[in-house]
């Protein structure tokens, strides 16, 4: 790659480094692994750069980060991909939103960290892209390689699961 092309590559993708690191960190749950994944993603991206036709560079790059993170998870075997996901039966009870709302409002950073980390990786991924990265459903669909309908149902289940985690923890503490 000639230096001017490299400059263009860096101008396009270095601004997405924190987004990449945040996603990689939430998927791998480790500082060191997140750094390795981000570096690997940049090395892949520069190889694929010829195929980048402009457009949404963030979604394009996060797709590569996601895939690099999943390759890493598969290699390390320490992943949560096969964690069985229990469909939650506890739905919000009609007419009694008070305690739950309070619980959500008083949740500490540590509560939320643990709640997010407890989610199966694909639900964590959807929630991180949506709530922390602010991606649209369409962008999440692109990054995760899923239909939009699946993105919606994953998000809904992830949120339900997260809420339940916080409620269970609140109940334990009381």
């Amino acid at each position: 790659m000639d230096p001017s092309e490299l400059k263009r590559f860096e101008r396009t993708f270095l601004p997405h480094m924190s987004a990449a690191y945040n996603l990689a960190h939430w998927l791998t749950r480790s500082d060191q692994d997140a750094e390795d994944v981000v570096q690997e993603a940049y090395l892949r991206a520069v190889r694929f750069f010829g195929g980048f036709r402009g457009g949404n560079s963030k979604a394009w790059f996060l797709t590569i980060v996601r895939n690099a993170a999943y390759s890493w998870l598969q290699r390390s075997q320490a992943h949560g991909l096969t964690t069985p996901f229990d469909e939650l039966i506890h739905d919000v009870e009609d007419g009694s939103p008070g305690p739950e709302l309070e619980l959500l409002q008083s949740a500490t950073r540590q509560d939320l960290l643990e709640a997010l980390e407890s989610l199966p990786v694909e639900f964590r991924e959807a929630l991180v892209l949506r709530e922390l990265e602010g991606l649209s459903y369409k962008e999440i669909a692109e990054v995760s390689g899923l239909p939009i309908g699946t993105v919606m149902s994953r998000l809904a289940r992830a949120r339900r699961n997260l809420r339940q985690f916080l409620i269970d923890r609140g109940a334990k503490e009381e």
Binding site: M1, D2, P3, S4, L6, F9, E10, L14, M17, S18, A20, Y21, N22, H25, W26, D31, A34, E35, V38, Q39, Y42, L43, V46, R47, V92, D94, G95, P97, E100, L101, L104, Q105, A107, T108, R109, L112, L113, L116, L127, R130, E131, L132, S136, Y137, M152, L155, A156, R159, L162, R163
Partner: protein
């Protein structure tokens, strides 16, 4: 819209992902359904908890340089290291590859004109001066220092003008070789751009107005005045190079 449909769409509604007509229907339903309103509030509370808890992992500063050097290593691009001389090499590398290509094109095209070949030579001399550490033989911003430095080295005395008042700083002088003879080169700087002004005596002595050429991304203006050939070459835009040429003529 009833509760089950609203329940399915309430999150998309809160995420701003629904089209207007569906949003309006949901709002109509929410107006008189406490359960769905509670679900919406719970969703919003979760969102603001997640958004406000600094759960974002920012990339550590060292990662940036680590990634940049890994990419350079993989792509075998000369690193922009601390030694300033290498910067020029790295910056000139595309130019050099273009130069080689252009040379190859010259070789296959039939009998290029002498003027074209000289232009090529001038641009190459300009590029060469930027590549190594040999930009100036006598660095000085003082015209009265630069001018005498040429005497005894070449058989003519080039006019050296201080153009700093119009934004072209004199960096110094250099001996170069063009058109099969030694020539004087004056180096001027405009912001980060360098201009080589090559001067040598003309054979016929006829005056010639400015001729502008663009070659390999460089702009080139050549003219003949008072028995001297002048060639100004740089990567600054043509308008600026023109103002440089006009300032010299004044």
């Amino acid at each position: 819209m009833g509760c089950p449909e609203t329940n399915d769409l309430i999150e998309a509604y809160a995420d701003g992902e629904l089209e207007l007509s569906s949003s309006l229907e949901i709002e109509r339903h929410l107006a008189d359904c406490k359960a769905c309103t509670a679900a919406l509030k719970s969703h919003q509370a979760l969102r603001s908890a997640l958004g406000g808890a600094s759960l974002y992992y920012d990339a550590p500063p060292r990662l940036r340089s680590r990634v940049r050097s890994a990419v350079r290593k993989q792509e075998k691009v000369v690193s922009l290291g601390s030694y300033p001389g290498w910067r020029w090499v790295a910056l000139a590398a595309p130019v050099v590859s273009i130069a080689i290509l252009s040379w190859a094109l010259v070789m296959v095209s039939s009998t290029p004109s002498p003027g074209y070949l000289l232009n090529q030579e001038i641009v190459s001399a300009h590029i060469r001066s930027l590549m190594g550490t040999h930009l100036t033989d006598f660095p000085s911003s003082d015209q009265h220092t630069v001018k005498p430095s040429f005497s005894g080295r070449i058989d003519f005395s080039p006019e050296v003008k201080d153009l700093s008042s119009v934004g072209f700083a004199l960096l110094g002088g250099r001996l170069d070789y063009l058109d099969r003879r030694p020539v004087a080169a004056l180096i001027y700087q405009r912001r980060k751009h360098l201009i080589n002004l090559f001067i040598w005596p003309s054979q016929g002595g006829a005056e010639a107005g400015a001729v502008e050429t663009s070659l390999r991304g460089y702009n080139l203006i050549r003219w003949t005045r008072s028995g001297m050939h002048y060639s100004a070459v740089s990567d600054i835009n043509l308008a600026e190079l023109r103002s440089f040429q006009q300032a010299l003529q004044e």
